[in-house]
């Protein structure tokens, strides 16, 4: 029993060859050049000799005839020393890594993976141990490190901790100012009044509820503070109050609408209503996040069909908070709906039936049973809408008008004012707000791992909602659907109209423009998205598998990392990648590589969720049975889990592809003239007022995404049908 040789011999050999044959660093040179001065042995730094020495030691130890576990322990030391020494050298000298460093580091990481498994320090075989190690390193390098660089850039100036830049940013009127000398009203006075009024109201309510005096006083203070914040949001100017006020409008609206739709979707008496909700839930996936804002210009702008055409008003009212809020409500309600659908459908119908047999009418049942059970779902939907609204970039760019938002300021301060420290400071504020919302949600909902919680619908017939409410909700849904449908239609129409609002005669001019200016970009984007989707899906699946099926040291860290990459606003991740990978030891020269990596780690959480949901359906003893039949875990993945999860994996793959196609905020920093992306170009066209061409591109994007989803889903169904046929 046991292994004669350690499996680490091969990666150790690879590390040695990589070290000897390829240059270790590449200051100022493209990745693939070979410069004899940059070989690890030519540089001759002690740390680099240590890398070589530990690789050699690892090779020798692997081939020694020793008991498996102690040999593994020795190899753990060799692998860790080799990997650590190489990374330390890169960090200390800030030399961009070269091919040799990449190969040697990969080799040593594999040595360490084998060693961790063979020594028994990680439960699982070499594949599992290596995967855990690599996933953790990825989380560290591509999620934690870039965010750390944002913090550093905000607070460290020329190597010293320095708050002045951060203070300058948040003291600047672009960030926040209350008293506007040019306005007729007295903002500070009004804000104070809000504080007093809300404070008194909340204390009054406490008195009315016959609370004790200390409680009443506490309510007075809390209410006062809340009133001041509300007042400052309302009267203040600058990115902070603007973003917060938008959130205060968007989050409740999305939650309520999402709840209404979820109730309808699960319990409406009419099939068509339920069907149309399925469509609504797909829309945000296939649409770039800002496309509705763009369509709103067609309907509600200065020359909008509704505003100008029907009511004959020509106003700019949609530019600013109202327009952005409306666009965000349209864009994020489906997300709230999806969350709440899970929570409504996981309600156990038996509970409601029980309540009804105990004499509760539909109203009472809704109030005493349903409401308390959906409350956590509501909290989740509320906070997710908050996060989305705060992080949203495209809608404020298009409809922000003269108001500035936190997410757009990150971009504008870097690309407009060329101030990296300021961009980082905005990034820190935005990140802090989003993470605050995120952790408040987790604290509120208690425990529950982000990765492993899934809502599985339980069967059974649900009680219909009271008829009066159903009619009301259906009316809301109809208005919503009509509005959204006319937005989509207006994009299609706009792509064929000569000049929107002036000349509606049909033309294919915009499509011809698109073909010359946009088509190559579109193809390039599709290629980049496809390239990023595969690793995003595989990595997401791997993370889901490791986290839900294995217990290991650092599991929390991996979970936390994927949560961070999910919660971090795209613009913040965008600047973070600039800071992390445009200079320094991890320099990635080709910006396509950075774009792809950004998309991979951005979309990984989507794939994780899909895979976790799929894995939850599979009895873990199937994998254990495979292990017991002496299959390595990679074999188990390939022969047992993959065939059973084809559907899930394909779905995860399309979602990763489509969200890479439609992503904008995290890649807008990373594009360069040779690496332009479709959504970024589209945004640029809208901003320049080239609406016809933008509409043509928008139409093509939406139609092609829709086709992709339909075709691939049909294929996946065929494949899984075949698997099932084999089964029966």
């Amino acid at each position: 029993m046991g292994l004669r040789f350690s499996g680490a011999w091969l990666p150790a050999l690879i590390a040695i060859v990589g070290f000897l044959a390829l240059p270790f660093g590449r200051p100022g040179r493209p990745f693939l050049t070979i410069d004899p001065n940059l070989y690890g042995w030519a540089i001759g730094h002690p740390l680099l000799w240590l890398v070589l020495a530990s690789a050699l030691a690892a090779l020798v130890i692997s081939l020694l005839k020793l008991p498996t576990s102690p040999r593994g322990d020795l190899l753990v030391v060799a692998g860790a020393v080799g990997l650590g020494a190489g990374v330390l050298w890169l960090l200390l000298t800030a030399t961009p890594f070269g091919m040799g460093a990449l190969v040697a580091a990969t080799g040593m990481a594999l040595v360490l993976g084998h060693a961790l498994s063979e020594s028994g320090r990680v439960q699982g075989d070499a594949f599992i141990a290596t995967s855990i190690l690599i996933v953790s390193l990825f989380v560290l390098l591509f999620i934690i490190y870039p965010l750390f660089m944002v913090l550093r850039s905000a607070f460290v100036i020329e190597g010293a901790f320095d708050l002045s830049q951060f203070r300058r940013t948040i003291g600047h009127p672009l960030f926040f100012f209350l008293e506007n000398p040019r306005s007729a009203i007295d903002e500070v006075g009004l804000t104070l009044r809000w504080g007093v009024v809300v404070g008194l109201l909340s204390a009054g309510w406490a008195l009315f509820r016959r609370q004790r005096l200390p409680v009443v006083l506490a309510r007075l203070v809390l209410g006062g503070v809340l009133g001041l914040i509300l007042g400052a949001m309302f009267y203040g100017r600058g990115a902070l109050p603007t973003s917060l006020l938008t959130v205060a409008i968007v989050a409740p609206a999305c939650t309520l609408l999402g709840l209404a739709f979820a109730l309808l979707g699960q319990r409406s008496r009419f099939r068509p209503v339920r069907r149309s909700l399925d469509v609504i839930s797909v829309l945000p996936i296939i649409t770039p996040p800002f496309i509705l804002a763009f369509a709103m210009i067609f309907l509600l702008g200065r020359r909008g069909i509704i505003t100008h055409g029907v009511f004959d008003i020509s106003s700019n009212w949609i530019y600013g908070i109202p327009g952005v809020a409306l666009a965000q409500i349209l864009a994020f309600t489906p997300i709230a709906y999806l969350l709440l659908r899970g929570s409504i459908s996981s309600l156990n119908p038996a509970l409601e039936e029980a309540a009804q047999t105990l004499g509760a009418g539909p109203w009472t049942t809704l109030k005493t049973i349903t409401w308390p059970l959906v409350r956590p779902g509501l909290a989740a939907a509320f906070l997710l809408s908050m996060i989305e609204s705060l992080a949203d970039f495209g809608n404020p760019m298009i409809l922000g008008g003269d108001r500035n938002f936190l997410a757009t300021e990150v971009y504008l301060s870097l690309t407009g004012r060329y101030n990296a420290h300021e961009a980082a400071s905005y990034g820190v504020v935005l990140l802090a707000l989003v993470l605050l919302a995120f952790f408040v949600q987790r604290w509120w909902l208690g425990g529950g791992s982000f990765v492993t919680v899934t809502g599985k619908p339980s069967g059974g017939a649900l009680a219909p909602i009271p008829r009066a409410i159903e009619v009301l909700l259906s009316a809301v849904l109809v208005v919503w659907t009509l509005f959204v449908a006319s937005l989509y239609v207006s994009i299609v129409v706009g792509s064929f109209a000569q000049l929107w609002g002036v000349n509606y005669s049909l033309t294919t001019r915009h499509y011809r423009d698109f073909m010359t200016a946009g088509w190559p970009v579109f193809l390039y984007t599709a290629r980049v998205a496809a390239i990023s989707a595969v690793p995003a899906m595989l990595l997401g699946f791997l993370v889901a598998y490791l986290v839900s099926r294995h217990r290991f040291w650092g599991r929390r860290f991996v979970e936390f990392g994927s949560l961070l990459s999910f919660a971090t606003p795209g613009t913040v991740m965008g600047v973070a990648y600039i800071f992390a990978f445009n200079t320094g030891p991890w320099l990635l020269t080709a910006s396509a590589t950075i774009i792809i990596l950004a998309l991979v780690f951005r979309n990984m959480p989507v794939a994780i969720r899909a895979a976790v949901a799929g894995l939850a359906q599979i009895d873990p003893s199937l994998e254990e049975a495979s292990t017991m039949l002496r299959a390595r875990s990679f074999t188990t993945l390939r022969r047992v889990l993959f065939p059973l999860l084809v559907n899930t994996l394909v779905t995860g793959l399309i979602f990763a592809f489509v969200s890479a196609m439609t992503a904008v905020s995290q890649v807008i920093f990373l594009v360069s003239p040779g690496n332009q992306l479709a959504t970024v170009l589209l945004l640029g066209w809208v901003e320049q007022g080239q609406l016809g061409r933008a509409a043509a591109m928008g139409t093509i994007l939406i139609v092609s995404m829709l086709l992709t989803i339909l075709v691939v889903l049909a294929l996946a169904q065929r494949i899984s049908a075949r698997v099932v046929r084999v089964e029966s």
Binding site: M1, G2, S69, E624, M628, R630, V726, E727
Partner: protein
């Protein structure tokens, strides 16, 4: 499974030695608490105990699906405590069978040989051999979902045997079968295990199943071993009140023992057991009580109630203020009235002493 001529070649059973085994889950759950256990070559050893006592955990520790917090696991004197599961030459039959739903019977059984990279010819041969052993030759091309529970169970067994494990682990393999079938399948398993001489560890919480199938039984409670012994030893000489109660039922009566004679309910009885003199708890199986014939020694009891169960009748008597249960064959006192006085005696087997409570 009556094809007695088919025996899987190449199985070399191993011994398993657990030393000071401890398994914690998190900080609070102590699932296995300092267990020492030696499993002989070729024996069938059963882990028996109430739900949550740590049986499955021990099995998974031996299998390598869990890592011990402390202690060692030796297989044929090799310390495998830190060895990954796939290097251990052990296999397991799962409670849920864990048959792969996307493979037919043949592919399920072939799996272990296939992933070992054996040639096609050998795979076919070994699968045929294993299926013959469990009497399912005809079913090779069936989907696993088109089999009855008992057949699925046998596929799982064939799938485990095909890789010629040195130790075979069973986790409540019969709990998904109905009572009648359970009895047949357990006899089949026992017969096959003895024929192959394969070292087996069998987990159950059904005491009857444990007694019927095992060479030795380990009774566990809350992560510790209460007693190890043959089924007969456990039943007749339980070491603790827990064991006596868990295996069969028993009366526990206060008594005194002086090394030769036990004094219980005012009734002196010669008894030999390795226990210090002094107060003891006397365990009396209900079927060890019978009516004393006239002239025989015995003790007075008051009849309280009875329930007629066909082959036996269950009685409750009062003996000097202590309630005593007895199951007595025949329908002796069918017309007895509450309060009637009777004379009872103990049989030779079924009385054993425990340390006092």
């Amino acid at each position: 499974m009556d094809n007695a001529s088919t025996v899987i070649r190449g199985i070399t059973p191993a011994t398993v030695d657990l030393r000071g085994l401890v398994k914690r889950f998190g900080k609070d759950v102590l699932a296995v608490d300092d267990v020492d256990l030696f499993i002989e070559r070729g024996e069938l050893l059963t882990l028996l105990g109430p739900s949550g006592c740590g049986k499955t955990t021990i099995l998974r520790l031996i299998a390598g699906l869990e890592r011990p917090t402390e202690g060692q696991i030796l297989i044929d004197d090799d310390d495998v405590s830190r060895l990954p599961a796939y290097l251990r030459d052990i296999t397991m039959v799962f409670q849920s069978y864990a048959l792969f739903p996307h493979m037919n019977v043949f592919e399920n059984v072939a799996y272990g040989v296939r992933v070992a990279g054996r040639p096609q010819e050998e795979i076919r041969e070994r699968v045929a051999e294993a299926l013959a052993m469990v009497g399912l030759e005809e079913y090779a091309q069936r989907s696993t979902s088109a089999l009855s529970g008992g057949q699925q169970q046998r596929v799982a067994l064939a799938r485990a045997l095909v890789i010629r494990p040195r130790v075979l682990l069973f986790d409540e393999p019969l709990s998904n079968l109905d009572a009648k079938l359970r009895k047949r399948v357990r006899e089949d398993i026992r017969e096959l295990q003895q024929r192959l001489g394969i070292t087996s560890v069998y987990v159950t919480h059904d005491q009857e199943e444990a007694l019927a199938i095992s060479d030795r039984v380990v009774v566990m409670n809350q992560g510790v071993i209460e007693q190890i012994g043959s089924p007969h030893e456990l039943y007749t000489r339980p070491a603790t009140r827990f064991v006596a109660d868990f295996i069969g039922s028993a009366n526990f009566l206060p008594g005194r023992y002086d090394g030769r004679v036990v004094d219980v309910l005012g009734y002196q009885r010669p008894h030999e057991q390795d226990l210090p003199s002094g107060p003891v708890t006397v365990m009396v199986r209900p079927e060890a009580i019978e009516f004393a014939r006239p002239g025989e020694e015995g003790f007075e009891a008051t009849y309280l109630s009875s329930a007629y169960l066909g082959p036996v009748t269950e009685f409750i008597f009062d003996v000097t203020g202590v309630e005593v249960f007895a199951t007595i064959s025949g329908s002796g006192m069918s017309r007895a009235e509450r309060g009637d006085s009777v004379r009872l005696r103990f049989k030779d087997v079924g009385v054993s002493l425990l340390p006092p409570d």
